[in-house]
Point group: C2
DNA sequence: TGTAACAGGACTGCTTCGGTCCTGATTGCT
DNA sequence: AGCAATCAGGACCGAAGCAGTCCTGTTACA
């Protein structure tokens, strides 16, 4: 699997949406309900994701009436690894890496203690090279979205 | 997190162990209990991992008495991505990638449909470049493996 | 002063994983 | 030929983490 959480996926969706400033309606911030309506993600979940992202500094928040959220940086300056780290916590494949070295039950026997570090680094490096702008533009070209492949959607 | 399962970690441990043919005792195969004793991983778990690996072809099995397991290829010819794919299933970060395209509830709205593919590919590429031999050699220097830490094993 | 929106929790149902066990099929040895 | 050792392939259960919701403040604008 090597699956990342759904929240991370939502975070990307939300941030990409956040980059598309709705023309005219709001000055520069967007509210949770608005993003929820635009993306199809449930409102409470959007709010949760945004709060997490705000706590990490990837988005900035404006409190009070007429408040909302805004990207702290443009899409091309935010790497995927940052988003993952913000939502899912630091990238750590196994318990051995990171700091918790004294948990492994088979201490002296385990012949791969710490060996996941290079793997972690490789993934970290690969993810740092991809920005949200890449994810927004790179994939599915508009031509690909033929109506036949999108049954009754959009 | 981006955490992979413990089973994958065990798989690496077991396969590295499998590469170290116990001198003299067995001709070329090793049994589940033997590997369990050598690695400290519980026997049923070792058996489960080995069965999974055998089903994928990463190790070959010899049934019957005096049977056991053996690496299908040398360590340096087995990439980490193969092991992960064998144990945890295909590398797919989110449900959107791979084949299941019709599950996403917010079909037409989701602005990053398929966008995870490049991320997946990047990770796949990073992981393909690392072999089990790398994981075995890179980290913890041999000096660390003092005999005192290998109690009554083999 | 009232309202709209974020902040930051706690809480619960659920999925998935980790781990164990059981019953067969196969092969080597006696 | 019979027995024992070993793999094969499930089913099964408990635990842990996640997804999602909700509630109570706090802030800022009209």
């Amino acid at each position: 699997m090597l699956r990342l959480s759904k929240l991370t996926d939502y975070a990307v969706v939300v941030m990409v949406r956040l980059a598309e400033v709705s023309p005219g309606s709001n000055p520069d911030v967007q509210t949770s309900p608005g993003i929820a309506a635009a993306t199809g993600v449930p409102e409470p979940t959007v709010a949760k994701v945004l709060k997490t992202l705000a706590a990490t500094g990837l988005v900035t928040s404006q409190r009070g009436a007429r408040g909302g959220y805004r990207l702290a940086r443009p899409l091309h300056a935010i790497s995927v690894s940052e988003v993952i780290a913000a939502v899912d916590g630091p990238i750590a494949l196994v318990a051995c890496v990171d700091g918790s070295l004294n948990e492994c039950e088979s201490q002296g026997l385990c012949p791969v203690r710490g060996r996941w570090d290079p793997v972690n680094d490789a993934i970290e490096r690969a993810l740092s090279g991809i920005t949200l702008a890449d994810m927004r533009e790179a994939a599915v070209p508009p031509l690909f979205r033929v109506p036949a492949l999108m049954p009754a959607a959009e």
